[in-house]
């Protein structure tokens, strides 16, 4: 299977070459990539919609357009922020397909299919695992203090990276084509990104386990003036020890295979019963 030649973004209007105009249109359209999600083919329609500007330019003939559109009706699922990378690469491949009679169009979907897995692995870890909790944590502490800038800060933080990533992905994907993938793999940058996101993510989550989990026990040992809250005793060993124990406890339950819903209901039950018996 041929890999795409590297293509520069051109500004000269050439019928078989995509220009900044089409790419920008695809960039904006890719914002809707998750908009018509369904279980059968997930983001397929969003992907096809994003490809249309390129396809319109490259395939003026109806049969070619039909073939291309049908091609992009296949199952698609990538973390939305990284999906423009696939769009860019697919656009570069479609360009080659339009130009070169011998190009096997089926390789386009093969590349899409092979990219979906790893891109989602990285995307999910970075955007859902690290960036959103980070932005969320910062915004929530501001909001709990009553600061109305919280939601705006949240959106700006998240979307700076979201939109920046999308833009870079689309254009780099188009310019480098499939050679992008082997470049990334050889440089080992992916593993580094995983580790970096993991480190930052865990730091932030660990910190939030201290500052945003509240567990206060009511009972005390002893009586009268000498009574000490059990709470104080535990947290005297290490500040925020109770929140830590609770978070680690839940983590252990998840590892053992407890379902999230069960733990959720469990927390409510324990909290309510606990209040009833005076534990909290």
């Amino acid at each position: 299977m041929k890999t795409s030649d590297e293509s520069e973004v051109s500004t000269v209007d050439n019928p078989s070459k995509l220009t900044k105009h089409e790419l920008m249109s695809m960039f904006w359209r890719s914002f809707t990539i998750n908009a018509s999600f369904n279980y059968e083919r997930q983001m397929s329609q969003g992907f096809a919609y994003s490809m249309i500007p390129a396809l319109k330019k490259l395939y003026p003939a109806k049969e070619d357009m039909a073939a291309a559109l049908t091609r992009h009706c296949e199952f698609f699922n990538v973390t939305p922020a990284l999906s423009p990378l696939t769009v860019g690469i697919a656009a570069a491949m479609e360009e080659e397909n339009a130009r070169d009679e011998t190009f096997d169009a089926r390789s386009i979907n093969a590349v899409k299919a092979s990219l979906m897995g790893p891109l989602s692995g990285i995307g999910d870890s970075i955007f859902w695992g690290t960036l959103r909790p980070l932005a969320g944590g910062i915004a929530c502490s501001l909001a709990l203090a009553g600061n109305p800038i919280a939601p705006i800060l949240f959106l700006v933080l998240f979307n700076f990276f979201n939109i920046g990533c999308r833009y870079l992905c689309l254009f780099k994907g188009y310019e480098l084509g499939t050679s992008f993938i082997s470049k990334i793999e050889k440089s080992g940058v992916m593993q580094k990104v995983f580790v970096a996101a993991g480190i930052i993510g865990l730091l932030v989550i660990g910190a939030m386990s201290a500052s945003m989990v509240t567990v206060a026990l009511a009972p005390s040992i002893g009586s009268g003036d000498g009574a000490i809250l059990i709470d104080k005793v535990i947290n005297g060993i290490m500040p925020k020890m109770l929140p830590l124990l609770v978070t680690l406890g839940i983590y252990k339950l998840l590892r053992k295979g407890c379902k999230t819903d069960q733990i959720l209901i469990g927390i409510f039950v324990v909290s309510i019963l606990g209040c009833f018996i005076g534990l909290f």
Binding site: D124, I138, N162, F268
Partner: protein, 254 residues
Amino acid sequence: MVTNALLIGLVALFGFLECGLGNSMIQRPIVLGPLVGLVLGDLQTGLAVGATLELAFMGTQAIGAALPPEITAGGILGTAFAITSGAGVDAALALALPIASVALLIKNVYYIFVRVWFLHRGDHYAMEGDSSGVARMHMLSFLSYAVVMALLVSICFYVGSPAVEAFLDIIPQFIKNGLTVAAGILPALGFALLASMLVNKEIAPFFFLGFLLAAYLGIPVLGIALLGIILVLLMMRGNLLATPKTEVSEDEDF
């Protein structure tokens, strides 16, 4: 009341358009909560509820086939009812969860029956080479869901307020206290979920590092995040980020 319901409906529409606006997280409680608060004239409660719900739902996301509870509807209605009933943050949590679960059921039905119809119509247009038909099916699939859900949220708010108030009045105090306690513990579930997503033996200590920095030194989340970035940059300098084990993956003995 009708004005409020309409405004809530607009907020809901805004939230449900998120998937078409780059998954920009505008549907999250930390955004919609304050927005609802603004609309109903109680920004402070909106902020408080938004933050609480955001923390409680922090770990939820779509993995595999399981979509998480519908936090857009749950967040909006939870905040709205909490404000109109005057019951505050704890009520919001108690309401948001069941509402989000019911909304998820509706979402699933919509996805399975309506969205798939648009999908198949789109195939039809694709086979004919009709790109505007394909585009139309995609956008209609998206917009119809947003409009339908916004309407449902609006109606639910209009119809539900009195019922919710009555319901909240009859809940005994210890349950209300229990809800407050639960609101404090729930974020731990989210954090545990997130941690399990990111953790492996090598980087596990960083969770505890973050915890200790916050617990002993009281460094806020933003500070920890910045420290983390600097730490990672330093590690890159010292070439500590690449774990040698992973590079020999193709050294196959089978």
